[in-house]
């Protein structure tokens, strides 16, 4: 009953997943599709899947998030879901009139062996509809996590649209991992400061974080346009923030292998060095120096790091969540002298293990690294190693509730606080915002209890000293 590949913590061999740190593949697919212009998502499976994925997104983004379902029941599970999927396509088109429909499978339809390509082709013949783009993606959740669902779907979107023989152009492809909408906008702003034209995919910064303005739209404006995606093969360069993404599902690798677009695969720009690497890539691409504004931001960050380095050095953070984020936050913590105690991801298939080991060579104490982790493992490791602070999503709330380990919220989902979508961590300015949140959480915890703790500790030590034989008067 062992499955040791699930984690790299040597003494933990377990089978039951207790308090999940990751979600299922189609959820990542939903988010990726929300980053494409005029798209509606249809989940091929039973009704509950789409409802749960909507709920998770709604609670994080605080926005209406519509996701259709083919609403399979027992009968279709036995005889096949073709009729339902076709009807669902009809109804989605009738109500939402989307230009694009992303169709995601679930564990149910994968197990049934539904052939999406055949069903969609047959639907096209029957309806004569050849103007709605329908992009099927296989997302069997018994295989991987929502992180791979995100990457796979992004890759499939490119594979659907990108054409060969496109005229070369100057727009750089920028492929992002599953980050907050504030982070998306921050990356866009940096590119704009450099004067770099780009195609970002998937860009859900306006669809999942809608500014309030005028009439309500069933499908909000925003997202990457299919026309631009079609031209990604003609780009001079792809910058992908996906170091932990496997080659087999890497969108950037697809563009490189299919169209010969050079790929620069970078870590998410959180912290000095990771952001420097992004800047360096842009410097090489443009031949221009770093814009003044960003140079200042770098300076402000370093200045702030000096201000807070001693506080940060007192912290032993437990960092958990999606691999790309976990790696980036680990780098930022290491730069600030905060050596992580535990680094964990629920995803079992990323490349984070070796990457972390390389990054942690200078660590004074080696953190516990967990892959394919759940919160029972994370919690145990955090207690064993004396973690004092956590960085991660709402799934870790019991760390704070049960063990008094405060959480600097980051990642997805954040459903027990407002503003998950507004959490800014990338770039020099974002790293500084993150650093301040981190340091202030340490200080808040310290100031809340240090008088009592010191008093009790030191007075009890005095009381423990035997006083016989002393002159008392």
């Amino acid at each position: 009953m062992t499955e040791s590949s699930r984690n790299t913590c040597p003494d933990t061999v377990k089978l039951v997943n207790e308090n999940q740190c990751h979600m299922c593949m189609p959820l990542g697919g939903v988010i990726a599709f929300k980053g494409v212009e005029d798209t509606m998502v249809l989940v091929h499976g039973s009704q509950g899947c789409s409802t749960y994925m909507r709920l998770t997104n709604v609670e994080h983004y605080h926005e209406p998030v519509d996701v259709a379902s083919s609403s399979l029941n027992e009968k279709q599970t036995i005889y096949g879901g073709e009729k339902n999927l076709k009807k669902a396509l009809d109804n989605v088109i009738r109500v939402y009139e989307p230009k694009v429909i992303g169709v995601l499978t679930t564990c149910l339809t994968e197990t049934m062996g539904e052939d999406l390509n055949r069903i969609i082709a047959s639907w096209r013949t029957e309806t004569g509809n050849d103007h709605t783009d329908i992009i099927p993606v296989s997302t069997p959740s018994y295989d991987k996590s929502h992180t791979e669902g995100f990457w796979t779907t992004t890759r499939e979107i490119i594979a659907y649209y990108a054409k060969s023989g496109v005229l070369p152009h100057a727009r750089v492809n920028v492929i992002i991992p599953h980050i907050s909408t504030a982070d998306i906008r921050a990356i866009q702003q940096m590119l704009e400061l450099w004067g770099v034209a780009y195609t970002m995919l998937p860009d859900y910064s306006m669809t999942l974080d809608r500014p309030f303005a005028g009439k309500y739209l069933k499908i909000p404006e925003g997202g990457t346009s299919p026309t631009e995606i079609a031209e990604m093969g003609g780009a001079p360069l792809t910058i992908q923030f996906g170091c932990t993404c496997d080659e087999s599902i890497s969108p950037g690798a697809y563009l490189r292998d299919t169209f010969g677009v050079p790929l620069v695969n970078l870590p998410l720009p959180v912290g000095i060095e990771n952001t420097d690497r992004f800047m360096q890539a842009l410097e090489e691409h443009t031949g221009r120096p770093v814009p003044d504004r960003l140079r200042y931001e770098r300076g402000w960050l370093i200045d702030a790091m000096a201000d807070s380095h001693k506080y940060n050095a007192s912290a032993r953070p437990v960092i958990y969540g999606e691999p790309e984020l976990v790696y980036a936050y680990t780098c930022a913590c290491m730069e600030n002298g905060a050596v992580p105690s535990v680094i964990a991801t629920g995803t079992p298939h990323s490349h984070i293990g070796p990457m972390l080991k390389e990054r942690l060579t200078d660590a004074i104490e080696m953190p516990v690294i967990l892959e394919g982790a759940d919160f029972s493992m994370i919690e145990k490791a955090a207690l064993d190693t004396g973690s004092t602070i956590a960085i991660g999503h709402s799934g870790g709330r019991q760390l704070a509730e049960k063990h008094g380990i405060p959480i600097v919220r980051a990642g997805f989902p954040i459903h027990d606080r407002v503003g998950g979508q507004r959490i800014l961590s990338v770039g020099y300015a974002g790293s500084l915002a993150f650093l301040d949140r981190f340091t202030n959480t340490i200080l808040e915890k310290k100031y809340a209890s240090y008088r009592t703790l010191r008093r009790e500790e030191l007075l009890s030590k005095i009381a423990a000293v035997p006083c016989e034989g002393y002159i008392t008067d």
């Binding site: 509950g48 083919s70 027992e74 309030f212």
Partner: protein, 462 residues
């Protein structure tokens, strides 16, 4: 904004097949369609069978809840309810067998058995509920047999919950699966005798934000003890004593009527419908219970309690009624029981209900709903966001009561919102809940923020 509110259902639906799921009161010829499965592609607000079973059983505090399937089903229901516990916190953990591809191909029974062994050895729980999901049901894992064997091996209750999501698009089927699991748990073993008491069981109460404890306090004040609630703040041991009660009171009828009927058949326990949401409902329910016990002492204490508490509610309602009178409200909730309570409370505040509906209402419940409402009110079964949006605009709604998925749609349209769902942290039950409800209705309906939102819409007449 347009105000083209149509009165004929045929013009209302955006999808033709949904026409008969939308009716308008006063239009007596049509009756509502409410037994259909959700229409594919209609973006129903409904969940699945697994979800129904999970929410009903989850508040059993000291049981282990094990979801047999791939990770998603457990991940999305990890610590999902605001149910409070006076003891064990075991129920807040979300256990999954985390089925992988090889389990799907070769069958998940072995992994399930191994997981049960791990859980029994590590936690020694008094009971384990094993939920089947789409995939474990589809590949035909015999969870009943695996549970039976584990039950014998570890000498604890290991109870299968047949909740494969695809069985139906309706949560109610999951409520039934949960009910069956509960009955299996509480049915005395052969030769076992449960002592009869004067206590009552409180069915369909989940202790969200401590709601069960509020009612428990009222009942204790009038001289009646709760034996156990199904399932708020319950333990396996307490549930097993349920057959000894002299009365079942049933609050959430959708989830628990069937269980009450079964308990009447099996143990001869009569039941009463109660509803502690809203002050009037609370007073009525307390009187009903007191009447059952037929004890002048209890009746006198009941009347004293009601008089005292009603005064507090009245004072608050009078204060806020001025601002709320004539405002237009919409209600879209999971079950009819909740809808009835909210309709009554909002009406008491002088508000007009212009739209209502549920995910799982029954035909008779919709008929009763129609009789409570003014002519021209739209009633929708299994509504979707497009329909909700359409009617919120057409009916010029000021405030909506509903669940998380509807909340931000309402906000986008400049409509206030009252949460009446699992997400709540503060209870709405009893007299004090009624006061909290009124304050919340005021805070959201009359919030200054809508001035800015509606201004963006170009409305100037607000």
């Amino acid at each position: 904004m347009e105000n083209t509110c149509s009165q004929t259902p045929e013009q209302d639906a955006l999808i033709t097949e949904r026409q008969h799921s939308i009716v308008t009161t006063g239009n007596t010829k049509t009756s509502i369609n409410c037994t259909d499965d959700s229409l594919a592609g209609s973006v129903s607000q409904r969940a699945c069978v697994f979800c129904g079973a999970r929410v009903v059983l989850n508040p059993v505090t000291d049981a282990v809840h094990l979801v047999h399937g791939p990770i998603g089903c457990a991940a999305y229901t990890y610590d999902i309810r605001g149910s409070l516990s006076s003891g064990s916190e075991m129920y807040r953990r979300s256990f999954s067998t985390d089925m992988k591809e090889k389990d799907v191909i070769f069958g998940g029974e072995k992994k399930l058995a191994a997981c049960l062994a791990e859980l029994a050895e590590k936690h020694h729980p008094p009971a384990i509920f094993v939920y089947s999901t789409c995939v474990s049901g589809m590949i035909g894992d015999d969870i009943v047999a695996v549970c039976k064997e584990a039950s014998l091996t570890y000498d604890i209750d290991v109870i299968p919950v047949e909740s494969s999501g695809f069985i139906s698009g309706n949560k109610i089927v999951g409520y039934r699966a949960a009910g069956e699991a509960l009955l299996r748990l509480i049915t005395p073993k052969e030769g076992e005798v449960i002592e009869k008491t004067r206590k009552l069981n409180f069915l369909g109460e989940y202790n969200l934000g401590g709601e069960k404890w509020v009612v428990e306090r009222y009942l204790r004040e009038i001289g009646i003890e709760i034996n156990v609630a199904f399932t708020g703040d319950s333990t396996v041991k307490a549930l097993k004593k349920a057959p000894g009660s002299c009365l079942n009171i049933v609050q959430c009828t959708g989830s628990m009527h069937w269980v009450a009927n079964q308990m009447y058949e099996a143990f001869g326990i009569p039941y009463l419908d109660v509803n502690f949401f809203g002050a009037e409902n609370t007073a009525e329910s307390l009187r009903k219970i007191a009447a059952f016990y037929d004890d002048p002492e209890i009746s006198a204490r009941t009347e004293a309690l009601i008089e005292r508490e009603m005064q507090a509610v009245k004072d608050v309602n009078e204060k806020y009624r001025k601002s709320l009178e004539g405002k237009r409200a919409a209600i879209y909730v999971g079950g009819a029981f909740k809808a009835f309570a909210i309709i009554r409370q909002l009406t008491e505040l002088g508000m007009e209900i212009v739209l209502t509906g549920t995910q799982t209402g029954k035909k008779t419940e919709y008929e009763r709903m129609g009789s409570l409402l003014n002519e021209g009110t739209v009633i929708i079964d299994d509504a979707n966001p497009a329909e909700i949006e359409k009617f919120l605009i057409e009916k010029k709604v000021d405030v909506m009561a509903g669940g998380v998925k509807e909340r931000f749609l309402a906000y986008k349209l400049g409509v206030g919102f009252i949460d009446h769902n699992h997400d709540r942290k503060d209870g709405l039950i009893g007299f004090e809940g009624a006061i909290r409800f009124t304050k919340e209705v005021y805070a959201t309906t009359c919030s200054p923020v809508w001035k800015y939102v509606r201004h963006e819409y170009g409305e100037t007449d607000q």
